[in-house]
């Protein structure tokens, strides 16, 4: 008999979890995983695989889980996905594999993400599945940036037998997985484990190396690298450009989250990096990063956490689960509103003036364009604002590399299938090419680029 609903996952209760940084969903038990896996119809022509940007063989791994063959399931996932513990937690499955799951047409889709997470966590407890590594090809590849795109490219290239060096600007590898996504959504120990697995495969990870400054892309070729993958992401925070944005108390989401996640300021003064927030924190934006910031604010001790978003609930770009979790925790959504200016005295933030919005005609993105309603200005008193309205590509690599074509917005121009840029031997993928997107899309780009780089090297670089 078909069970119409997903097997529920146990979670920390909202009232408890806003007082800690521990993970919110606690994961399936073995029985729950097997039960959920048995909901899969094992379609003859599955649609879920194409729904996955890295094409995990979902029916196969879910079938293995249903039979209790967890080691087999891990191996299946790892064939195409080098970061399953991450993807099981942060992928927007409802828009991808689960969005096209045949079960989902009539009932709730199979909880593929939760099953993937179960398998990855099972692997962590029962010993890693070591991938086969081809014999050395003699080729050297440099990967710039150790976020999801870079880690995936590095893993695939190493498995194909190339010598891989990853250059990371920060003092830890993982990129946005470390500095951006909070501990309660993606424990940092999980990312570290994946990075260690990469090291164990023989990938050389060089931290504290800013390519474009200490060494340029052109210089890397002179040093003997045969090809290069740029996965430097969209890490340059965008601001609103409204008056008062320089006031103390206005944070970019990047700063707010970097202080908390990377520098562990939630453990100040045990850790040295401080963060200052008031009783009421206002987050501007409606994406996953905004949800992360609003929920982080509660855990840092804010009594009230308010999200201001200029469109309505239907357009909220965040994952459904993130919005649900935020709501459960008491985050208040002030929709159809937009900040006009920040108010302050003596250079200290005192409030944010907003205007009510309504939805007008559809814009080029297909969403209805928000339009301010004159005369509806109102002020929210606050001394802490987090601006989470997106990021721009980091300009350093394009600026310091000869013959690397970029778009008007500063993204590197790259073939979507291969990642090939305008410069021979240089491939790029992830947010630096597409603008801010998802972890899994960046991984997909890293994967496609690795295949293309391999072909480039084999065909005589």
């Amino acid at each position: 008999m078909i069970k119409p609903r997903q097997t529920p996952i146990s979670q920390q209760r909202p009232y408890d979890r806003i007082h800690n940084f521990d993970e919110v969903p606690l994961g399936y038990t073995e029985d729950e995983a097997v039960q959920e896996a048995n909901r899969c119809l094992q379609c003859q022509y599955p649609t879920c695989i194409d729904g996955c940007p890295v094409n995990v063989d979902i029916p196969r791994f879910v079938g293995q889980v249903a039979r209790g063959d967890f080691a087999g399931a891990v191996a299946t996932i790892r064939e195409t996905n080098s970061l399953p513990a991450v993807c099981g937690r942060v992928c927007p499955q409802e828009d991808q594999c689960q969005g096209v799951c045949a079960m989902g047409r009539k009932f709730e889709s199979v909880a593929i993400g939760r099953l993937e997470r179960y398998c990855a966590d099972w692997e962590a407890q029962n010993g890693p599945c070591r991938p086969d590594i081809a014999s050395d090809t003699g080729h050297r590849v440099a990967v710039v940036g150790s976020g999801p795109a870079g880690l995936t490219a590095a893993s695939d290239l190493r498995r194909l037998g190339h010598a891989v060096t990853v250059f990371e600007a920060l003092h830890v590898a993982g990129g946005v997985l470390m500095y951006g996504i909070p501990e309660f959504r993606l424990p940092k120990a999980i990312v570290s484990r994946e990075v260690e697995a990469l090291r164990a495969m023989g990938v050389d990870i060089q931290l504290n190396k800013v390519v474009g400054q200490v060494v340029t892309v052109d210089r890397l070729f002179e040093q003997g690298y045969d090809a290069l993958f740029v996965g430097t992401g969209a890490g340059f925070p965008r601001f609103l450009g409204i008056p008062g944005e320089q006031l103390g108390g206005v944070y970019s989401a990047n700063e707010f989250l970097t202080r908390t996640n990377l520098m562990r300021s939630y453990r100040f003064p045990d850790y040295d990096t401080p963060i200052r927030i008031g009783e009421r924190v206002v987050t501007i934006g409606g994406g996953n990063v905004a949800m992360d910031a609003a929920r982080t604010a509660l855990r840092l001790g804010a009594r009230e956490s308010i999200v201001i978003y200029r469109r309505s609930v239907e357009e909220l770009p965040a994952r459904v689960e993130e919005v649900e979790h935020a709501s459960e925790e008491g985050v208040f959504f002030h929709l159809l509103a937009n900040p006009v200016r920040f108010l302050g005295d003596d250079h200290r933030l005192r409030g944010v003036e907003c205007v009510e919005m309504k939805l007008g005609d559809r814009d080029e993105s297909g969403r209805r364009r928000p339009v301010p309603i004159p005369g509806t200005e109102f002020t929210i008193e606050t001394d802490t604002v987090v601006v989470a309205v997106g990021n721009e590509p980091h300009p350093l690599i394009p600026k310091t590399t000869c013959d690397l074509e970029t778009t008007r917005r500063g993204n590197i121009v790259a073939d979507p299938e291969t990642g090939q840029t305008s410069k021979r031997g240089v491939f790029a993928g992830g947010d630096i090419v597409t603008g801010a997107a998802t972890v899994i899309e960046a991984m997909g780009a890293g994967k496609r680029a690795a295949t293309a780089i391999h072909a480039f090297l084999e065909n005589g670089a």
């Binding site: 920060l170 400054q213 200490v214 890490g235 944005e245 990047n254 040295d272 200290r348 350093l396």
Partner: protein, 285 residues
């Protein structure tokens, strides 16, 4: 990696370090900075590069004990010890060219980052007039180095214990009053000094470069914490700077942002029973 090769006192609470970092030493140019982190629980702090020694692969820095990290570095990190993280060079290098007569103004530990710039300006064929200011004679350093390199050197101290009594901006004003030809000014020091120097040159429309030291977290363009209003535009000191047109910088905004964590910083110092030399001054060069 990141081993401390040399460490010596330059004055009260002012220390000169040479850190082993051959790739940074090879790549750095005057005006650029590094970020460092001492240990796992440490914060990342920016320090402007004073000099590089390509032969030993060293990066020279001047550190003043003003916050937890700098105090801890001086007390716990002797020669032979290594810093956990050391990344650079960061920021844009100084725009060194042949301008004619350049006046290089250094206040407090701002004298340190000024040194390589003045040297580069001299090498580029400029006449270099240096004005160095410090609280007192003990706090003044690199006087001999500047004297050997510059065409003209003025020294001032707050209490008159060395050189004239007064501020660096007073000397700059005197030079202008005497109708000295000045083509470009570099002013590096506490924000208030840079602000006053920029105010002095503004009526004369003399291009005045300042090097800013706002609070930074990553130092690579990611957090935006170091943003500063320059001519009505938001600039990031870490990637657009650290040098900017002093006539365009909103110094009041900069100083307010620098004060934002003063309370947390004081808590941290108390908790670790650390004694910085001067809690009241904001300079963190």
């Amino acid at each position: 990696m990141n081993r401390i090769l040399e460490k010596k006192p330059l004055g009260p609470c002012i220390w000169e370090y040479l850190i082993e970092a051959p790739d940074i030493a090879a790549a750095a140019r005057p005006g650029q900075f590094v970020m460092l982190r001492l240990h796992e629980r440490g914060e990342r702090i920016p320090l402007t590069i004073v000099e590089t020694d390509p032969i030993v692969g060293g990066v020279r820095l001047v550190v003043q004990e003003v916050g937890k990290t700098t105090c801890e570095m001086v007390s716990d990190f002797p020669v032979g010890e290594s810093l956990l993280d050391f990344v650079g060079p960061l920021g844009e290098p100084s725009d060194v060219a042949q301008y004619g007569t350049t006046v290089c103004i250094g206040g407090g530990v701002g004298i340190a980052p000024l040194y390589p710039i003045a040297q580069a300006l001299k090498t580029a064929g400029n006449r270099v007039v240096a004005i160095l200011g410090a609280r007192n004679a003990d706090c003044l350093f690199y006087e001999r180095e500047f004297a050997e390199m510059c065409d003209e050197l003025h020294v001032v101290t707050d209490d008159g214990s060395r050189g004239h009594r007064g501020f660096t901006s007073d000397v700059l004003q005197r030079l202008l009053d005497a109708n000295e030809r000045i083509d470009r000014v570099w002013a590096i020091g506490p924000p208030i000094m840079m602000k006053v120097c920029a105010d002095v040159t503004r009526p004369h429309a003399i291009p005045t470069v300042v090097s800013l030291n706002p609070i930074m977290v990553d130092g690579t363009g990611m957090c935006g914490g170091c943003r500063v209003d320059v001519g009505g535009e938001t600039k990031f000191a870490c990637v657009d700077g650290p040098e900017f047109d002093g006539h365009q910088v909103d110094f009041d905004g900069l100083m307010a942002r620098l004060r934002f964590y003063a309370g947390s910083e004081a808590d941290l110092l108390d908790r670790h029973a650390l004694q910085p030399c001067q809690r009241k001054q904001e300079e963190t060069w």
